[in-house]
Amino acid sequence: MAKKESTFVNMVLTLFLVCGIAAGALGYIYTITKEPIETAKKDFLYKQINVVVPGADQGEIGEPIEKEGLKFYVVKDNSGQVIGTAVESFTESGFSGRFDIIVGFDQDGKILDSNVLTHKETPGLGDKMSKDVAPWNEQFKEKDPASYKLIVKKDGGDVDAITAATISSRGYCDALQKAYDGYMKFKNEGGIK
């Protein structure tokens, strides 16, 4: 096969053409996958909100309100009564860096339930933070962080850490605390409407 000669003009032209076609094709694919991606993300998030604020699927989940890196979703039942608020929170100190969690609070600031959103933690250890894997995070249910110390027992708090995954457990507590602090501030500023 004869190799095509490389002149300046045809090199520039070829690259330009290739990039143009690629960008065009991607733009097209992007427009058709945009909606399914958003639906998939939303479905996933709403499923998780329903886990942490039970009954959310019967009622109405508000638009996300962002504050200081946290996201708040006010959940109301059919009659417009607020049944709880889901908070997307995170920690930077997981076993492999940042991970995100979601927590539901009732009106008094008690934890309804919580779960992990991103899972990058080690399978078999840190991933036990997730409800799909282990019942570990059930212990936070019905706890009021005002009196319940969100620190693992090893460090003098009230939380049973996951065996052999203290770092992940600490991270989870850190994310919960962040969510609680943010939620109280959000509530006191009258964010729940």
Binding site: C19, A22, A23, L26, Y30, E92, S93, F95, S96, G97, R98, T166, I167, R170
Partner: protein, 192 residues
């Protein structure tokens, strides 16, 4: 302090090679001698920092503004490939001595997934420009550390009698495994 945390986390806790498995190809490919390992590390430090700055600017100033985030992969790889070419040409003209030292490693860097990985990671972690620079410097120092230790170990490995099937790559991978085990000890060192 925050920057110090980022650096320490990037070098030890989340070591790019031994914990995140990026840049394995050069890790296995150029780790026969300590001197080549050092050369490769220098080239990576240089290109990674430069690439992270440029791609960060492109992402935040162009792609994010025009909602073209889906073109991230394609733009990044083009930027990195042309950056490597440019660095090669400029080095050749400006500093032949440095070119002599780093030259042969530069073409290999285009396919070093650590570069692209870090460029994407700083966006995912929502770092600002200075944090990104610090992170990429830390990461490349971590890469250098892993690569140079590993090269040192491999130099000794050549002198040892290993079973036939384990010779070469399998033995090297085992050593890498043990090294990774040692790095596990750094987990939880940094609390932010």
């Amino acid at each position: 302090m925050e920057y110090l945390y980022i650096i320490i986390a990037a070098i030890f806790v989340n070591n790019i090679v031994l914990m995140q498995f990026l840049g394995i190809c050069p890790f296995l490919g150029v780790s026969n001698k300590v001197s080549t390992a050092a050369g490769m590390s220098g080239a990576v430090l240089f290109v990674m920092t430069l690439a992270t700055i440029i791609t960060w600017l492109i992402y935040t100033q162009v792609l994010a503004v025009f909602e073209l985030e889906y073109l991230q992969t394609i733009t990044y790889i083009l930027v990195i490939a042309s950056l490597v070419q440019m660095v090669e040409i400029i080095l050749k003209k400006v500093s032949p001595a440095l070119y002599q030292a780093l030259g042969i490693f530069l073409p290999l860097i285009t396919t070093n997934c650590a570069i692209l990985g870090v460029a994407i990671l700083v966006i995912q972690k929502k770092f600002d420009l200075l944090q990104s620079v610090v992170f990429s410097v830390g990461t490349s120092l971590g890469f250098a550390l892993a690569l140079i230790i590993f090269a040192g170990l491999r130099e000794h490995l050549d002198l040892i009698n290993v079973p036939k099937g384990m010779k070469g790559v399998p033995a090297a991978l085992l050593v890498a495994g043990i090294l990774a085990l040692a790095f596990q000890g750094f987990a939880g060192l940094v609390k932010i």
